[in-house]
Amino acid sequence: MAVLTVKDLCKSYAAFRLDHVSFTLKEGSIMGFIGRNGAGKTTTLKSLLNLVHPDQGTIEFFDMDFKKQEQEIKQLIGYAAGECNYYPKKKLETIVHYTKPLFERWDESAYRNYMQLFELDDQKKLCELSCGMRVKFSLVLALSHHARLLILDEPTSGLDPVSRDELLNIFLHLKEKGISVLFSTHITSDLDKCAEDITYIKKGKIIASESMEHYIDRFRLVVLPQKTDMDASKFIGIDHQKNCDTGLINTEDEKLFRDHKILVPDLETIMVHMERGDMIC
């Protein structure tokens, strides 16, 4: 069953447009939402929850139309936009006191467990927490009402490597319980650890939404001599390294470069070459 189906989501601003964004998230899966800064990740995630009003498109959670069943859907999802900056002068305990009655499935013991796991003291004020601790608190709020889907906008930004690893392990644990996670990031190593699907957005358009393994397998990396004079149009994108250049190609074009060293790229490499593709003169 799809926990989230987005179809033809469009939103126009003066200098940017989300252009028919469509993707689906399966139940119990973890999807990474990737793209460079300004690609439209945050706008898309905000559109899912009506923080941004889309111009057109349909958004369904658990086969329910968001426009018609907004309240019921929000009981089942948790959202966190990175660092929690709400009510900085209030104690965490106070924020939770006014938040929890709104959730039908608030679990006080789960809340206490996550607070302990993340080493958060609810007697502290939000402004007294570090950036990373604030991210953790926003996740505690999202996790404490047994959400079936978590939508997280760059949840690992600001976290130290140990905390980041901790969080990714929590995602894997949630997946085992059948909870789905959609998180945007540009730390592609996070995706290597826990995501099985990715959706790649570039300049407001979805250019891929599939399993990460399948996506990576669609590309190969050709090692080229430094300052190569090869025709750039043969490549999706070329990146200049210290000792050589690398060019990204589709796997089916591999045979055209039999005389060159071919590597299987990782996700970060694919992204860099994809984005550089627009910058080639």
Binding site: K46, L49, N50, L51, V52, H53, E70, Q71, E72, K74, Q75, Y79, N85, Y86, Y87, P88, K89, K90, T94, I95, H97, Y98, T99, P101, L102, F103, E104
Partner: protein, 217 residues
């Protein structure tokens, strides 16, 4: 809705807003433009709305399991409940004055407005100006506070001036009496004021909810 309202009072309501409810006591002051009590309260509201902006209350509320228009409803209820609290206090003051101070020379010779039944009507109209001008403008952006307050002020001050001068017009001097026998005219003003308050507040809520629904945050 009750839980959302509790959130409003607990997380974004500024102590200054609650303290300014006590400004109702200023309606006892003779030779003073007592309708400014409504303006003082509006400053208190503005502080709460500023707190809401600085603490990203709207963004937080949207991710809670509530409809977007319920956020507007909660903010309107927050304002209206405090306005009603002030009206109740003023009613108490007006009643006490009518019982114990109706022969007071200070109020009999007061060239400015006395706090009486008509005053409650004027106050209701002044509150309706805040609800209409400030709140509808606020929900257009959920961030701008200066423009809503400016528009509200531009409407509020002339209104206060008109109401202050009304009882100086021929045939309307009874509007400023604190004695019971001149109740009919004053009760009429009160009823008109309450009707305007209820109708404009309801319309303003609908307009605000519609604007807020399409707002990008």
């Amino acid at each position: 809705m009750l839980n959302l309202l509790k959130k409003e009072f607990g997380l974004t309501g500024s102590p200054i807003t609650y303290i300014f409810i006590a400004a109702a006591g200023m309606s006892m002051i003779p030779n003073y433009p007592i309708l400014v009590v409504t303006f003082i309260l509006s400053i208190g509201f503005s502080v709460s709305f500023q707190t809401a902006r600085e603490t990203q209350d709207i963004q937080y509320s949207i991710i809670l399991p509530v409809k977007k228009r319920d956020i507007v409803k909660a903010k309107f209820l927050f304002v209206v409940l405090i306005e009603l609290a002030v009206l109740i206090l003023l009613t108490l003051i007006v009643t006490l004055k009518a019982i114990f101070l109706q022969n007071s020379v200070l109020y009999a010779e007061n060239p400015l407005m006395n706090s009486n039944i008509a005053y409650l009507g004027y106050t209701s109209i002044c509150f309706s100006i805040f609800n209409t001008a400030y709140l509808t403008q606020y929900f257009k952006t959920a961030t701008r506070l200066g423009k809503p307050f400016l528009i509200y002020s531009l409407l509020e001050f002339p209104t206060i001036i008109i109401f202050e001068t009304l009882h100086h017009l021929p045939g309307f001097s009874n509007l400023n009496s604190i004695r019971g026998q001149f109740c009919t005219l004053q009760v009429t003003v009160l009823l008109i004021g309450l009707l305007i308050f209820i109708c404009t507040t309801l319309i303003s809520y609908r307009v605000s909810a519609k604007k807020f629904e399409i707002l990008d945050l």
